[in-house]
C-alpha cells in the first residue's frame, strides 16, 4: 500500500469514527450507570437525524446558517424529551427486575419507535444537506473532502470527549455519576439519589445518540431502518472498549473506523465483517473490553 492511500484512509476513518464515537459513548455511559443495554439507542440516533432535518428544512429559508444551531436543538429536544420520557415511564418501573426484562423493554421501545418513525416522517428518503454546503471543501492529494466531515465532525467528537471528561471529573453531578458507575451500592448507601442520577445519565446518553444522528443528517439520506445498524455497531464499539469506558470508546471508535477505511481500500468485501471480528477477538481475550476493569465474574 502506498502512503497516499494510507493518508486518505486515515481521513476517511477519522470522520467515520467521530460519528460512531458520539453514539457509542452515549450507550456506554448509560450502561455504566444504569446497567441497562439500551437497544432503543439506535432509534434515538434516527430520531435525532429526522428531527434535525425537519428543523433544518424549516429554518434554512430564513438563513442557511441557522441550520447549525438546528442540529444541536434537535439533539436536545430528542435527548431531553424522548430520553426523559423513556427513562421515567418505561425504565424506572423495571429497575429492580431481571436484566433481561430491562433489555426487552428497550427492545420493545425500539420496535415502537421504528414504527412511529415511519408514521411521523414517512418512507421517502429525506435529505437536508445545508450545513455541508455552507462549509468549504478541502483538497488533499487530489481528493476533495468536505470540511464538515473531516474537520467539523472530528472536532465535535473531540469536544464531546473533553467535555464529558471534564463533566465527570470536575463537576459534582459528574462525580456522582462516576461514583454510581464505580460502585452502585456504596453510592446509594452514602445517600446519593440514584433516581436523579439515572435520569440525568439517560438524558445525556440519549442526547449524544441524537446528536450523532443530527450530525449525520446532512451527509446521508434519512430512511426507515437507519437506526437498526447503528445500534449494533455502537454496541460493538462500546463492548470492545469496555462498557462504561468514555476514553476507551473514543480509541475503539477510531480503531474500528480506521480498520474499516483501510479495508475498503484493500479488500472492500470485508467491510461489514471488520467491527464484529474485532469485537469477537477482543472479547475472547479480554471479556471486560480493551479498557474495562476486571469485574467479569462476581462470585
Amino acid at each position: 500500500m502506498d502512503s497516499t492511500i494510507a493518508i486518505l484512509a486515515i481521513l476517511d476513518g477519522l470522520s467515520y469514527a467521530a460519528l460512531v464515537f458520539l453514539v457509542s459513548v452515549g450507550l456506554s455511559l448509560i450502561f455504566g450507570v444504569l446497567r441497562v443495554v439500551n437497544v432503543a439507542h439506535g432509534s434515538l440516533y434516527a430520531y435525532g437525524a429526522y428531527m434535525a432535518a425537519t428543523i433544518s428544512l424549516l429554518v434554512a429559508p430564513i438563513s442557511p446558517w441557522l441550520t447549525f444551531p438546528a442540529l444541536l436543538i434537535a439533539a436536545l429536544i430528542i435527548g431531553v424529551f424522548v430520553g426523559g420520557l423513556l427513562e421515567t415511564f418505561l425504565l424506572r418501573p423495571v429497575y429492580g427486575r431481571e436484566e433481561v426484562l430491562q433489555l426487552l423493554i428497550t427492545f420493545a421501545v425500539f420496535m415502537i419507535m421504528d414504527n412511529l418513525q415511519r408514521l411521523i416522517w414517512g418512507v421517502q428518503p429525506i435529505f437536508a444537506a445545508e450545513p455541508v454546503r455552507l462549509l468549504p471543501n478541502v483538497s488533499l492529494l487530489g481528493v476533495t473532502y468536505t470540511s464538515y466531515q473531516v474537520i467539523l465532525l472530528p472536532l465535535v467528537a473531540l469536544g464531546t470527549l473533553i467535555g464529558l471528561r471534564y463533566f465527570l471529573r470536575h463537576t459534582l453531578s459528574g462525580a456522582v455519576i462516576l461514583a454510581v458507575t464505580e460502585d452502585r451500592e456504596a453510592a446509594t448507601a452514602i445517600g446519593i439519589n440514584a433516581r436523579n442520577v439515572f435520569l440525568i445519565t439517560f438524558i445525556i446518553g440519549a442526547t449524544l445518540a441524537a446528536l450523532g444522528g443530527a450530525l449525520a443528517s446532512p451527509t446521508t439520506s434519512l430512511v426507515p431502518g437507519m437506526g437498526t445498524d447503528m445500534i449494533v455497531l455502537s454496541f460493538a464499539v462500546a463492548a470492545t472498549a469496555g462498557l462504561g469506558q468514555i476514553e476507551g470508546a473514543a480509541v475503539t471508535a477510531l480503531m474500528i473506523g480506521l480498520a474499516r477505511a483501510f479495508v475498503i481500500y484493500i479488500q472492500p468485501e470485508l467491510e461489514v465483517l471488520v467491527p464484529y471480528l474485532i469485537m469477537v477477538i477482543v472479547l475472547l481475550v479480554r471479556p471486560m473490553g480493551l479498557f474495562g476493569v476486571n469485574k467479569v465474574r462476581k462470585i
Partner: protein, 428 residues
C-alpha cells in the same frame, strides 16, 4: 386426516365459478415498510387510483375490481403466510407480486403450487423465468438484462472513448446481477476497458465517504451505479458534495426514481435509466391526453410525478384487463374460468403508459421497450429532466426464450451497440 380435509378445502373453492362473480379480487404484494417502500408506497397509491378508474368505467368485463395489499417489508415468514391467506382464505383471483426479486423467488413457486395466476409486476431478476417454465407466473415488464443492456449501449454510443470504469452497487441480488450483466456485455463490446474498482457496500449503508475517496483517487472515466432509493440519494449527494460527479461520468442505472428527490443537486450530463420506457415526459406519449391526465391525477394525489413502479403497476392492471377481455372473447362472451384467463395471458399484447408490451408465450417474459437519457436542467421543473432520450426496441436486447442471460450475453458481437436507436430531445 387434516391433510385430506385441507386438500378437499383447496379443491372446492375456485374451479367451476363460471357465473359472473361479484368482483375480481386482486392481491398485491408491495413494500409498505423498509427502504424499498420508495417504490412500494407510490405503487400502492397508483393501484388504488387505477382500480377506481377501472371501476368507474364498469370494471373488468362488467365486474368491479377489489384490492388487498400485503407488505413485503414485514419479512419472509409474514409474506409467505399472507400470500397463502390471500389465495386460500380471501380467495383472490390474481396476485401481483412482487417488487423485490427475493420476494418473487419465494412467491413464484408458491403461486405455481397454488395454481394462482401471478404477475411479477416489478421484480427484475432475469433468472426467475429463465430457470424454470411456469404456467401461472408472468412478468408484465422487462427484466434486468434488457434494462442494463440499454444503459450500456447508451453509454457506448454517447461516450465511446472511455478507458476505465468503476462500479458502486448495493450488495444484494439486483446490485450483483445488474453488474454481472453490464460487465459481461461490456467485455464483449469493448474488451479493452479496465475495471478499476468493484464496490458493493451493504444495502442501506449510510455513508459512502471512503468509497468516494477511493474513486476520487482512482479517477475512473465512468462510474456505474444501479443503486436506488435512499442509497442512491446518499451516494449521489455525497459524490456531488465532493465534486466526484464532475470528475467522472456517472451512470445511474435506475436513476429515474430519484430525479425528483435529488432536485437541483444533480449536475447535467448524468446518464439515467428507467427500467423500461418510463418517464412522465415520455417522448412518444407526452401529448396523449389520457397519459397527461393520469400523471396530473397521480401528482394531485401524492404530490410527485409518477415513477417507474407506478407505471409498472399500470402494466400489471393493463395485462390483467387484457387477459380477461381476451378470455371472455374466446369463451364466446361468457365469464371465463381461471384457467382460461391464464391461457389468455400467455402471449398477450397490452399497453401501459409506454410502447405496447408482449408477454411472450415461450417463457411468459414481458417484452418492454427501454428508455435511457441524460440529465438536463429545465426551468419549468425544480429537478433535472431527461434529454437525448433513446428508445430501445425490446426484441433485440432481450435474451431469446430458452437461453440464459449470461450465456446469451457472451455471444453478443462487438458491434452490437452500433444498432440503430432513435433519439428524442427534451421538449422536442
Amino acid at each position: 386426516m387434516g391433510a385430506l380435509l385441507g386438500a378437499a378445502g383447496l379443491m372446492a373453492g375456485p374451479a367451476f365459478a363460471q357465473d359472473k362473480p361479484k368482483e375480481v379480487k386482486v392481491g398485491i404484494a408491495t413494500f409498505l415498510s423498509g427502504p424499498a417502500s420508495v417504490f412500494g408506497v407510490p405503487a400502492k397509491a397508483a393501484a388504488e387510483m387505477i382500480a377506481e378508474e377501472i371501476n368507474k368505467k364498469g370494471g373488468i368485463g362488467g365486474v368491479p375490481v377489489t384490492l388487498s395489499f400485503i407488505d413485503e417489508g414485514a419479512g419472509g415468514e409474514a409474506l409467505v403466510s399472507n400470500f397463502r391467506r390471500l389465495v386460500q382464505d380471501e380467495k383472490v383471483d390474481v396476485t401481483f407480486s412482487a417488487i423485490s426479486s427475493g420476494s418473487c423467488q419465494q412467491l413464484a413457486p408458491l403461486a405455481e403450487d397454488l395454481k394462482m395466476m401471478n404477475f411479477m409486476w416489478d421484480c427484475g431478476a432475469a433468472s426467475i423465468l429463465e430457470a424454470k417454465k411456469y404456467r401461472y407466473n408472468f412478468r408484465s415488464q422487462a427484466n434486468a438484462t434488457p434494462e442494463m443492456l440499454a444503459v450500456l449501449i447508451y453509454l457506448l454510443k454517447t461516450k465511446p472513448d472511455f478507458k476505465t470504469i468503476a462500479v458502486v452497487n448495493q450488495d444484494y441480488a439486483w446490485g450483483r446481477e445488474s453488474w454481472e450483466i453490464f460487465s459481461t456485455a461490456l467485455k464483449q463490446m469493448k474488451p479493452d476497458v479496465k475495471i478499476v474498482a468493484e464496490l458493493f457496500p451493504k444495502f442501506g449503508a449510510p455513508d459512502y465517504s471512503t468509497e468516494i475517496s477511493r474513486l476520487m483517487a482512482l479517477r475512473p472515466d465512468v462510474v456505474l451505479t444501479t443503486s436506488w432509493g435512499g442509497d442512491l440519494d446518499t451516494l449521489v449527494r455525497q459524490a456531488g458534495q465532493r465534486g466526484l460527479l464532475r470528475q467522472s461520468t456517472f451512470v445511474l442505472g435506475i436513476g429515474e426514481t430519484s430525479l425528483q428527490r435529488l432536485g437541483k443537486d444533480l449536475p447535467e450530463g448524468l446518464i439515467v435509466g428507467a427500467r423500461g420506457d418510463h418517464w412522465f415526459l415520455h417522448p412518444e406519449m407526452k401529448n396523449d391526453p389520457a397519459f397527461k391526465a393520469f400523471n396530473e391525477a397521480f401528482r394531485a394525489k401524492t404530490g410527485a410525478w409518477p415513477i417507474y413502479s407506478v407505471y409498472h403497476m399500470q402494466q400489471a392492471f393493463s395485462a390483467l384487463q387484457g387477459a380477461y377481455e381476451k378470455a371472455i372473447k374466446t369463451n364466446g362472451g361468457k365469464w371465463p374460468t381461471r384457467e382460461q384467463v391464464v391461457d389468455a395471458a400467455s402471449g398477450l399484447e397490452f399497453k401501459g403508459w409506454g410502447r405496447p408490451i408482449t408477454m411472450r408465450a415461450e417463457d411468459n417474459q414481458g417484452l418492454e421497450a427501454q428508455l435511457v437519457g441524460v440529465t438536463k436542467a429545465d426551468p419549468a421543473h425544480n429537478f433535472m429532466v431527461l434529454d437525448n432520450m433513446m428508445l430501445f426496441e425490446p426484441k433485440s436486447i432481450t435474451t431469446p426464450p430458452g437461453q440464459k442471460s449470461v450465456d446469451w450475453l457472451k455471444t453478443l458481437p462487438a458491434d452490437f451497440y452500433k444498432m440503430n436507436v432513435p433519439t428524442f430531445k427534451h421538449g422536442g
